[in-house]
């Protein structure tokens, strides 16, 4: 009896599991179909001139693209385009896509040699540094007809005055992310980052250029100041801020703001939008007193092996459909006028991504590369800022260290003495 029951169960068991699995599958596929029918916005790509893109179709070449992390539409969201795959489909050119985290990392990689890229996307100040050091080459705009879509206000910026080396990819501003439930102040401006009421709940940029820019706005200096006195004053202001700063961070801002660990942090508008999508309590404001406008632009390094294919890639990135896919996916603003027209009014008027022309012209500054001396000075001041401590601690650190050294050496001597004595016996 017992045995036969077992046997029946053993026979039934896979059957039950099998049917439930099947049921699961079928119900899944039903919901999938539902979702797809609801999803009306599956983006398709149309390009104006397919003929142009067919040039390298059968040559089997590939290009190396070096871009910021999470800075392209990769099709991972439903209905979005996988930009690199579309490019390969259209042109037959393979794309080797790799990432970097900071402009400085990109610079160090190129400077160190050994790496060959055809497309890089540095920010404004890094572009001017690379132009100065012959690390990027002039573009042939005859190969980039879609350059016409780039808005006039993003062309001929100070970092590339004749706009010979770069094609703007995205742009954005720096503002303040804050917790709307706990901060009730109106007219939030940069001075909130110094406010002692929020001591230890404030985050700050962990890179000197962005941090100094905030201090320079408060002091009314140019964001591209190379004056040592001005830099020192800015450093002084940042030193004053250190008392209320919880931590100097970059990408950790996402976690710390999300978890309610900190209340206020300056950050880039595009990332702020991503963060606000996830956490409803967060708000973002671009201070009245002005801010830094940054532009990331596509460039071709001097040693590029496939210059023409790279220019084709740049042109492709300027296709309205592609630029639209990029800006919708990464959240940063697009300089592409045709893509801008395609955006929802909600995004156009959110007061974060796209600001009115007057504010942009009057209150924002684009970074330019500083002289080597000014860069070194800023770096030194930054190091000093980050390494100074509460005065009281400083006073004891060195004496304590010396004491430890002395104790150590005395112990060594005693040990040796004891040992010698032992050896004699």
């Amino acid at each position: 009896m017992n045995n036969s029951l077992k046997r029946i169960i053993a026979l039934l068991f896979p059957l039950v599991i099998g049917t439930s699995l099947l049921a699961g599958c079928s119900s899944d596929s039903v919901t999938d179909a539902d979702e797809e029918s609801e999803e009306t916005e599956v983006q398709t790509l149309t390009v104006a001139d397919e003929e142009y893109y067919s040039k390298f179709r059968d040559s089997g070449i590939s290009i190396n693209v070096y871009n910021w992390g999470e800075y392209i539409s990769d099709g991972s969201d439903e209905g979005t385009l996988n930009v690199n795959a579309e490019f390969t489909k259209l042109t037959g050119i393979k794309v080797n896509y790799t990432n970097y985290a900071t402009n400085e990392e990109l610079y160090a990689k190129l400077k160190g040699g050994g790496a060959s890229y055809d497309i890089i996307i540095p920010s404004d100040y890094m572009i001017s540094r690379m132009i100065k050091e012959d690390m990027i080459q002039p573009l042939d705009f005859g190969n980039i007809p879609n350059y016409k879509y780039i808005g006039e206000s993003y062309k001929n910026q100070a970092y590339d005055p004749d706009n010979a080396y770069s094609v703007p990819y995205t742009w954005g501003t720096v503002g303040i992310i804050y917790d709307t439930t706990l901060i009730e102040e109106e007219n939030i401006d940069w001075d909130i980052l110094w406010n002692e009421d929020y001591a230890d709940r404030i985050l700050m940029f962990d890179n000197p250029r962005d941090a100094f820019a905030i201090a320079e706005i408060r002091l009314g200096y140019s964001l591209n100041s190379e004056d040592f006195d001005e830099l020192e004053n800015a450093a002084e202001l940042l030193k004053e801020q250190k008392k209320v700063v919880q931590a100097y961070v970059m990408d950790e801002i996402f976690d710390k703001m999300g978890a309610g660990e900190a209340l206020i942090a300056p950050y880039y508008a595009g990332d702020a939008i991503t963060l606000m999508d996830e956490y409803e309590d967060l708000g973002f404001v671009i201070p009245e007193s002005g801010t830094n406008l940054f532009i990331d632009a596509m460039c071709i390094p001097s040693g590029a092996k496939q210059k023409e294919a790279a220019e084709m890639y740049i042109n492709f990135m300027c296709e309205p459909d592609i630029a639209y896919a990029t800006t919708s996916y990464i959240g940063y603003s697009t300089p592409n006028t045709a893509a801008y027209e395609m955006l929802d009014d909600e995004i156009k008027n959110d007061g974060i991504s796209y600001l009115d022309e007057e504010y942009l012209a009057q209150n924002t500054t684009v970074f330019r590369n500083l002289s080597d001396e000014a860069n070194q000075k800023m770096q030194d001041l930054w190091t000093e800022l980050k390494s100074t401590h509460d005065e009281t601690k400083n006073k004891w650190l060195v004496p304590l260290f010396m004491l430890a050294c002395v104790i150590l050496s005395i112990t060594i001597l005693i040990m040796r003495y004891i040992k010698k004595k032992k050896d004699i016996f």
Binding site: T102, E104, E105, Y107, A108, K111, D200, D206, N207, P208, R209, K242, V245, Q246, A247, Y248, V249, E252, D255, K256, A259, G260, E261, D372, N375, Q376, M378, Q379, D380, W382, T383, K386, S387, H389, N394, L397, V398, L400, F401, A404, L408, S409, T411, I412, M415, R416
Partner: protein
């Protein structure tokens, strides 16, 4: 001849990946941007002496804490049955199966003002205490991450101590304390030395722990060197000079430590 052949791969490896990079560090430290000889960068390192002192200090504290925790543990371990020993050793190694960054990141969420530890305190009406972004958190991170490097060499030396030596000591009227101090400790000194080396050296040059747990306001030498390469100024020569000075300091400290140990036993440097 045969021996030399066998060691050839390692020798090649050592020359290509250890000796050549070391020489390059020295080359960059003593040249300027145009490749001319200069002592300026090495001299410039003096302005960072405070950071050096803090790094050495924090690394030393972490090393001592590691030693204090590991020594009794390793000693107790050797007294256990073979099976328990291997289980315990596996438990020691277990955290190392996870990525270093991930482990440190976990501490970040645990120590935060809204983190797990402060939530527990909050449950009893205490705190919240500021734990993250302090020097203490940096030391904690060092101890946590490098503890296995102290336990393993200690254990592997202690497990080889002949039990009959200890028995002989007690036979001859030595009490537990004396056995520990006069028999076990001297015999385990090589393990102590290599444990200290393996904890102190990575601890002094770490940069990710101080950035994640120290909040960026507790700059250590590692951060300083990293800033020269990936920072605003891109000063490779200064970065190399700082690295070189750090190496010399470690060399000095290790030499002193070796004096501390017994003379005839060489310690892994």
């Amino acid at each position: 001849m045969k021996n030399k052949l066998i060691s050839a791969p390692y020798l090649v490896w050592m020359v290509v990946f250890i000796l050549v990079p070391l020489l390059m560090v020295a080359y960059f430290a003593f040249t300027d941007k145009d490749g001319n000889f200069t002592l300026n960068y090495v001299a410039d390192v003096a302005q960072y002496s405070q950071i050096f002192v803090r790094s050495i200090w924090l690394a030393a504290i972490a090393t001592v804490i590691c030693l204090v925790i590991s020594y009794p543990l390793a000693y107790i371990l050797t007294g256990m049955s073979k099976n328990t020993q291997s289980t315990m050793l596996m438990l020691v190694m277990l955290p190392m199966w996870m990525n270093f960054l991930l482990r440190t990141y976990a501490w970040m969420t645990m120590l935060g003002n809204n983190g797990i530890i402060n939530s527990i305190f909050g449950f009893f009406g205490l705190g919240p205490y500021k734990m993250l972004n302090t020097e203490g958190a940096v030391v904690l991170g060092m101890v946590y991450n490098y503890l296995p490097y102290m336990i393993l060499p200690l254990y592997s030396v202690m497990v080889k101590i002949d039990k009959s030596v200890i028995e002989a000591a007690s036979d001859l009227g030595c009490n537990t304390w004396n056995t520990l101090f006069r028999v076990v400790l001297p015999l385990s000194l090589p393990g102590v030395m290599s444990g200290i080396t393996m904890v102190f050296v990575p601890a002094i040059s770490t940069f990710i722990i101080s950035r994640m747990l120290g909040g960026g306001g507790n700059l250590l030498i590692g951060d300083l060197i990293e800033m020269q390469f990936l920072g605003n100024a891109y000063n490779v020569n200064l970065g190399a000079a700082i690295s070189l000075v750090l190496m010399v300091i470690i060399l000095l400290i290790m030499t002193i430590m070796n004096q501390f140990g017994s003379d005839d036993e060489t310690v892994l440097m």
